[in-house]
């Protein structure tokens, strides 16, 4: 089809029933991640992904109705991995501890595969994909909950959550781009940013 994606279907095409297929699907998604990391957005193409995954292009299209669906699946995988970690924040005794935990999870996630994380963040804002993802939503609502506990009475906490998410992503992406490795230090700086922001932003 076209290069310009004309309202391409995004749902997975076939739910793999046999274990063989599940492996294929997983290997394709991981290949997509690797291609994105090594070739960037403009080197990312379905043939390269299939080749890297060691499957035929036909197989790729059996499971993903198009290029965007592939990126979407990769996003979901990364989101899911992040959530598994981040959700534990809600179990923390204090709002502060919860927020600190969330910061830790974000930093860990982003520095694990910094290039991948960055590119997925970029793609997330693509018109076609953002709808399907409804991505920030879940994370944002998690953060709203945490803010409510960390700083009761905060007005416009969705706006604050949006800003804080943007700060985390901004700082950590940039650190990833600089190939920073010192997680401790990075976490400290993100904490400074978030708690500093929270302490100064209007209560209402």
């Amino acid at each position: 089809m076209n290069r310009i994606s004309r309202q391409q279907p995004l749902k997975p095409r076939k739910v793999p029933r046999q274990p063989r297929s599940a492996e294929t699907v997983a290997s394709i998604i991981e290949a997509a991640a690797q291609i994105l990391e090594t070739a960037g957005l403009e080197g990312f193409n379905t043939n390269a992904v299939a080749r890297r995954a060691g499957v035929s292009i036909g197989s790729l299209y059996q499971y993903f109705p198009g290029k965007d669906a592939l990126i979407l699946a990769l996003m979901r995988r990364e989101k899911a991995r992040f959530y598994e970690d981040a959700a534990a924040a809600l179990g923390k005794p204090s709002g502060k501890a919860a927020l600190e935990y969330l910061i830790g999870a974000s930093v860990r996630q982003q520095l694990q595969r910094p290039v991948l994380a960055r590119l997925l963040d970029v793609e997330e804002s693509r018109p076609g994909l953002s709808k399907e993802m409804a991505a920030g939503d879940t994370l944002q609502s998690l953060l709203v909950t945490i803010i409510a506990r960390a700083k009761p009475g905060q007005k416009r906490s969705e706006v604050a959550a949006g800003d804080m998410l943007a700060m985390i992503q901004g700082i950590v992406d940039a650190a990833g781009a600089r190939r920073e490795k010192d997680i401790e230090d990075l976490e400290r700086r993100v904490r400074a940013a978030l708690f500093g922001y929270l302490s100064r932003i209007g209560k209402g």
Copy 2:
């Protein structure tokens, strides 16, 4: 020739000396900006830019050796416009005032043409382009100077400047994406983020 840009030259092919050429170059760059805004990264192509600029594709290639050079020129134009504004920060009486001015300039710049600004930020991190841009550098050094005045004794002020730049960009891009219009409010939040960060980040 290939799609994948094989180490394409990035310098302008011809330095326009006659006013006619300068106009042509400017119109091409502005056309590039508009195509980027209306068609996005994946709709951005040299033929479309030439058409929008009202010149032939041949003329476009007479002034720009390739697609990337065009994007680069657009980036430089935007940077230059921003600097014209931001440099005034150095004339402010206090470090705090300077930083506040810089924040104002950033917000203004980003909200003027939010889509364009966002996409250029994305492109800026493309390996091929970032080298040529040496982008953050100048802005970062400006910020380092301001930090030195606003908070003398700050250790690792390059790192702090990097973080703060990332925060500004993160918050303001997100606001642009949400189509926020209230500049006052946005500036207030960015100030909270930056001054909050500065107040908490280790002095040494």
Copy 3:
């Protein structure tokens, strides 16, 4: 793009201004005709057409927005050639002579390039194309006019015209498929069919 034509544009993409282009366009259309004749509907593809025309696939797409547009252009060329001939029927002294002339033109047209004519007839009924062609219309109205002169008072002359057109096409296509060469004989049989039909179909 997709194989399944998703409401592909059908208008010519670029009106050739230079004589060079006009030649290119003509050569592409003729190549399309030849490919259709030699490879049939299922061997008809844009790459083959471009190769046969001696132009690059890119050039083909500069003038035709898609495969269907190419077929459409070929149809129009054939229709135009036919009309140049058939329109002379209106100048005939009697309705009978006009109808006989029209039959002659049809037979000539169809036996000139029988395979091509047959395949275009088939394509003409493809949903996507038939709208754009509005093809039969003109021919049908010509025939309606002629019927009115040949047999005044004929009721439902549009229906009769439709039937007669179908008869001409049916008989002549079949003759073409059988590789008949005797135009005289074929014309005689078509006349028998049409005048026989007209003499028996209800006047009112």
Copy 4:
């Protein structure tokens, strides 16, 4: 394997002996008919047929050696159904009655599933298939027999039969395309065409 069918075998791969298989074969053929009707020639593919039939693609290929064999089987089914009806014409008392009966059978057949009938007519002329079908033959010889009774002494009755078949098909296909429903009226017109033709075509 290739798309372009390389002289694919057309005989059924396995002659079904058990009732189970016969059912499967029938359901596949009917599915093929339905896909042809709903998706047209270009939406007709073996995977879709198998899905519609509720069998696996592997099973389809167990009974049919390829796509063309499937179409061929469908053609044969339709021909057979038509013959069951049409053969009764031979029992009619007069040649005229026989011809009228044959016209009726043709109209009935074509209007039953007009889209299907039309598409099969189109396919019938595909070089690869027509050989195997030897399609017109049987019907044509039936018509030759009838002509001999209706109009003894008619010269070149095979040619006449060919023309008449083409007329029937042409008129009735066109009527089907126009979604005509009035069988009576259509039969009347076809009779006018055929008897008109017969009365005027040279006896010797």
